[in-house]
């Protein structure tokens, strides 16, 4: 009973307290490298790798049947001196990581293409997720050769895709923030 009361108290406190997310110690995402190359078909392909680790709370949710959705935001933009950059192209690749209890494996599904992989361990699944190979981003004809373009990407956990009760909690309790900053690189023709 006391515990229950304390929980109500917590609810009220959380309502009134400023909504802040405390960085959980174990969850992080670091983009190691990313770059675009122009292939024969005149399309820029992105290759990137990032280390993504999730904390215990996320892993528990995953194992308890809550799929985690990650988004890779990729933008091609033109930096401007005094204004915000002009975004030429923006694509988002979303992956859903899911635990399969029957085979005790992890299912990684590209929500854009529908392609899915069954991976034996979480580490492998995260490693697979953290490797982007030859993702077509933009046709070079859409870019003007003389001008300078930059590419940038960021990776993060999609809160909105969490089930609603967890969604609310992910805002109110720490340990649910997973987001890399923008990682930029120049685009060379």
């Amino acid at each position: 009973m006391v515990a229950v009361r304390h929980r109500y108290l917590l609810v009220f406190l959380l309502l009134l307290a400023p909504l802040q997310a405390v960085q959980a110690a174990a969850a992080s995402v670091t983009i190691n490298q990313a770059g675009m190359t122009l292939h024969q078909d005149e399309v820029f392909y992105l290759s990137a790798s990032f280390d993504l680790t999730i904390n215990e709370r996320m892993e528990e949710a995953l194992l308890k049947g809550v799929p985690l959705t990650f988004a890779i935001d990729i933008e091609v933009f033109q930096p401007r001196r005094y204004l915000w950059p002009r975004v030429v192209a923006a694509i988002t690749q979303r992956y859903r990581l899911e635990y399969l209890p029957l085979s005790q494996q992890y299912l990684l599904k590209n929500l854009n293409s529908g392609a899915q992989n069954v991976l034996p361990t979480l580490a492998v699944a995260l490693a697979v997720l953290g490797t982007v190979v030859d993702l077509p981003v933009i046709d070079s004809s859409l870019l003007i050769a003389d001008e300078s373009y930059m590419g940038r990407m960021k990776v993060g956990l999609e809160h909105d895709e969490l089930p609603l009760p967890l969604h609310l909690q992910s805002y109110l309790t720490p340990g649910w923030t997973l987001e890399s900053g923008w990682y930029s690189w120049p685009i060379n023709f």
Binding site: V4, V11, L102, L119, P120, P165
Partner: protein, 744 residues
């Protein structure tokens, strides 16, 4: 302007109602979202924020109201106490049931959600899953075994033959698909059971990597729309060709339809259950959060409404209270605005009616008071202008009022006796004792109408007064007192007497004077004609007789002359002159007189000049001196004290000169003192009896007064008062009027 608008916006009922409604709608959406409506899921967080913001706004409004109420309470603003009480009652009325409902709702959420989950169900799910796993495990082993055989066969064959053998091998092991793949997951050779199929189901590169590391890869995977498959990947071992590319064999075995379906169903159900169990606490949290928000909204809006309605309820009462206070302080003109058609409105209406009536009554009282004051003033004026003195007594015989005429007639400041018993007058003014003694019995006997004539010796001389009394009509059966009317009839009586004597004198003079001259002439003729011819006895007789006749006629002529003197009203020759000189002149005439009169003069040197007729005043003095000499009797013993001094009046117009002429004679008998100024009233042997009446006449001609007093050391003193500015020539009848104006 903006501030005002904001204030009106925040204090009005409609804006707040709209706010509450919108909050209610958003809360409804929130609860719908919690229940799992996918459309609202995205906006859940924002709905939550919106609600919190709305609640904060409400809290702010309530805080504002509360602060205002506290301030009013501290300043003892009318109605604030009642408002506080009403707000408290409302809040308690709301809080108690809502708290109870909240408590039980929480219990229901806790227990309800918990009751969905059961350890036994969870165990059953686990077991089912394990069963499925075991079932698949057997299959997997079998398929692995088959695949390893194929791999061994392939290993023994040269690479170029691999594609050719693949179809046969696939048939042998009864696989759906058999592929040869490179490290980079490129297809080297494929074999399908379904000839229509052309695309192999390729694994991820990492899977190949894992297969290489672990020597094998085996997994049950779900193929899109085709159910479960067992995927087996085995690396090919090729001796002696280290530099060459690594190849993999992939075999795909379908899990039979029913098993696949069941396994999938088990997996999804188990996953669903696990997810629900895991989300139990967050779900409770969400429910409780939503419930708490709803509760807060209800409570806060109820509190706000408590404030609002308490204010609304108290407003007319407050106005009434203020109105009552205003009325209590004496302002009956206050009208209260009418609020509603309920009982309070009726109360306000009645209050207005009451104050209106009170105001009317008050006006009526004020009007009648004013009327009474006017009446009083009118009565006062009338009484003041009355020549009769009026004295009113109340039922107990207390003097309540006296007019100016009463004071003048009685020569007493009766104001000193106001509010005192009537008998007190005798004590304060001993001269009025006869009046009190005479009137008091009448008052005691409660005689209704009486009239008495009295004589009073006042400082203004002896006065004859007619005193009449009337009992005032009873008021409500209670005696209301008396009115005593006092009239000074001294002058009137005197004038009547004077007029009668004047007429007598005139007629007497006329009737007697006419025969006197023929008598005298006849006597003288007799004497002239017969006396020389007679001798002896006859001659003496005739001489004596005619002499007597002539002499007596002479005397009678004198008498007639005195009469006509008395009766006539000569023209006065008034001039402003020095009275002292006249007095000295007259006294000088008697200084060497054989009668041996002695004068004792006491003349004020600073006497002002007086307007008078010197001839008449001389006669006056002669008459008085003659009277004194005659009163003194024996020759040479007459001492006349003559004093003259001024009496200052209220202004120059009213200044008087007072002349005292006192003798050392025997004085005037008390019973005669009233009549000494009437003709033929004399105690002396000699004299015409007209001396003093003429004196009085002269004094009155000059607008003055004369009276006589007996002195204590013997002798009589005639006191004359003459106005410095001269008086009228009119008769004594007007004298009193003149006197009053002098004094007012």
């Amino acid at each position: 302007m903006a501030h005002k608008f904001l204030k009106r916006l925040l204090s009005g009922f409609l804006p707040i109602l709209l706010l509450l409604l919108s909050l209610l709608v958003s809360l409804y959406s929130l609860s719908t979202a919690v229940e799992g409506d996918g459309n609202l899921k995205q906006s859940y967080f924002w709905l939550l924020l919106l609600n919190v913001a709305g609640l904060v706004l409400l809290v702010g409004l309530i805080g504002n109201n509360l602060l205002r109420l506290i301030r009013q309470y501290r300043n003892h603003v009318t109605g604030s106490r009642l408002t506080v009480r009403l707000v408290l009652i409302f809040v308690i009325l709301v809080l108690v049931p809502v708290s109870v409902v909240y408590y039980f709702s929480l219990q229901f959420i806790q227990r309800g959600i918990d009751s969905w989950f059961d350890v036994r169900i969870e165990q059953a799910f686990e077991d089912t899953l394990e069963l499925s796993r075991l079932s698949l495990f057997e299959r997997k082993r079998e398929y692995l075994h088959k695949s390893e055989k194929i791999r061994d066969q392939l290993d023994r064959l040269p690479a170029v033959e691999h594609p050719l053998m693949l179809d046969e091998m696939r048939r042998n092991i009864d696989a759906d698909e058999l592929d040869l793949l490179t490290e980079k997951a490129r297809v080297v050779a494929v074999s399908f059971v379904d000839s229509l199929k052309v695309t192999p189901w390729l694994p991820d590169q990492s899977v190949l990597h894992q297969a290489l590391l672990q020597g094998q890869y085996i997994a049950v995977e779900e193929r899109q729309d085709q159910g479960l498959y067992v995927r087996i990947i085995l690396p090919l071992y090729r001796q002696g060709d280290i530099a060459a590319e690594q190849y993999f064999l992939q075999a795909l075995f379908p899990v039979s339809g029913k098993i696949s379906q069941l396994a999938e169903s088990v997996q999804s159900s188990y996953g669903h259950y696990r997810r629900l169990a895991y989300l139990r606490e967050p779900l409770k949290f969400s429910f409780i959060l939503t419930l708490s928000l709803v509760l807060l909204l209800s409570v806060l809006s109820a509190i706000w409404m408590a404030f609002y309605f308490a204010h609304r309820l108290v407003a007319p009462i407050r106005v009434l209270a203020i109105g009552t206070r205003v009325v209590a302080s004496g302002d009956y003109g206050k009208r209260l605005p009418r609020f509603a058609n309920d009982e309070l409105g009726f109360l306000v209406e009645s209050f207005n009616e009451m104050t209106r009536k009170i105001a009317d009554g008050q006006n009526e009282v004020r009007r009648s008071h004013q009327l009474a004051v006017q009446e009083r003033a009118y009565l006062r004026t009338v009484l003041a202008s009355l020549s009769s003195g009026v004295l009113t007594l109340d039922a107990e015989g207390t003097v309540t009022m006296s007019n100016i005429a009463a004071k003048q007639i009685l020569a007493a400041d009766l104001d000193q006796c106001l509010g005192k018993p009537f008998e007190e007058i005798a004590r304060v003014f001993p001269a009025l004792a006869p009046l009190v003694e005479d009137v008091f019995p009448c008052l005691q006997d409660k005689q209704n109408d009486w009239q008495h004539e009295l004589k009073l010796g006042l400082s203004s001389g002896r006065r004859i007064i007619i005193c009449s009394g009337i009992a005032l009509p009873d008021i409500d059966g209670l005696p209301a007192g008396h009115v005593i009317v006092i009239e000074d009839v001294t002058m009137l009586l005197q004038a009547q007497r004077d007029a009668a004597w004047g007429e007598v004198a005139r007629r007497l003079a006329h009737e007697i004077k006419n025969p006197l001259t023929p008598i005298q002439l006849s006597a003288e003729r007799l004497r002239h004609k017969y006396l020389p011819d007679m001798a002896g006895q006859d001659a003496r007789l005739l001489d004596r007789s005619t002499h007597t006749i002539i002499q007596q006629v002479e005397v009678m002529k004198e008498l007639v002359k005195a009469f006509s003197e008395y009766a006539r009203t000569p023209r006065l020759n008034l001039r402003r002159q020095d009275l002292k000189n006249v007095i000295f002149e007259v006294c000088e005439l008697y200084r060497n007189d054989v009668s041996g009169i002695r004068f004792k003069l006491d003349i004020d040197e600073s006497l002002p000049e007086v307007v008078f007729d010197a001839g008449r005043i001389r006669q006056l003095l002669h008459n008085l001196i003659k009277n004194a000499r005659e009163a003194a009797g024996s020759e040479g013993s007459c001492l006349i004290t003559l004093s003259c001094h001024g009496i200052r009046g209220s202004d120059r117009e009213n200044d008087l000169i007072e002349i005292h002429v006192a003798d050392n004679g025997p004085g005037i008998p008390e019973d005669m003192i009233e009549q000494v100024f009437e003709p033929y009233v004399t105690g002396k042997l000699k004299g015409s009896g007209l001396g003093l009446p003429i004196v009085k006449k002269i004094v009155e001609e000059h607008g003055g007064r004369i009276w006589v007093e007996n002195l204590e050391q013997g002798g009589a003193c005639f006191i004359i008062r003459l106005p410095v500015q001269g008086g009228s020539q009119t008769a004594a009848g007007n004298n009193r009027h003149h006197h009053r104006t002098e004094e007012t």
